[in-house]
Amino acid sequence: QQQVKQSPQSLIVQKGGISIINCAYENTAFDYFPWYQQFPGKGPALLIAIRPDVSEKKEGRFTISFNKSAKQFSLHIMDSQPGDSATYFCAAPGNTPLVFGKGTRLSVIA
């Protein structure tokens, strides 16, 4: 079963700063690596995703950097805002369609 290791567990960032969350995976049999954002009391929502044929994908303030040789990908949130405070999950394909990391709780403080 695919293992996905996510770090850090929690993160506190000043408003306007850069939030960085990292994810390491084991297998590369599939081609889709998403990040999900979850607010309290809500289900996870797809935030941004990357395919391994590119090294970076940017959507607004959110960027995924992908390092295929290292089997790592990271989420960067530029100009972090209090509204970004949530739990973020990386996911990677495995024997099941997606295996999720344990999550990173991000708090953006003013």
């Binding site: 996905v4 998403p34 009391g41 289900g43 369609p97 997606l98 344990k102 999550g103």
Partner: protein, 112 residues
């Protein structure tokens, strides 16, 4: 576009009781998933349906959990009998593409 609907949103039961959760996926999504999310952890897949057939139920505790998806649309997940460790949020998701899953709000189950 309407999202994934789940009910109930909250449920409190005593151990050894039974409970059922309902999910209505996004219209046209052939694939439906049930996940268990324990507090402080990521979602863990319990079962995946493609239309009304089971694709993967390898992590479903079949001695107490069951799920069905009649007519390839709505789905129900049942726990009978419940144990204390079943306390979690049960998430339903649906998708057209395997990675692009759309989640419902979940059902928070507390087993006393």
């Amino acid at each position: 576009e309407a999202g994934v609907a789940q009910s109930p949103r909250y449920k409190i039961i005593e151990k050894r009781q039974s409970v059922a959760f309902w999910c209505n996926p996004i219209s046209g999504h052939a694939t439906l998933y049930w996940y268990q999310q324990i507090l402080g952890q990521g979602p863990k897949l319990l079962i995946q349906f493609q239309n009304n057939g089971v694709v993967d139920d390898s992590q479903l505790p079949k001695d107490r959990f069951s799920a069905e998806r009649l007519k390839g649309v709505d789905s129900t997940l049942k726990i009978q009998p419940a144990k204390l460790e079943d306390s979690a949020v049960y998430l339903c998701a649906s998708s057209l593409l395997p990675g692009e899953q759309f989640f419902g709000p979940g059902t928070r189950l507390t087993v006393l």
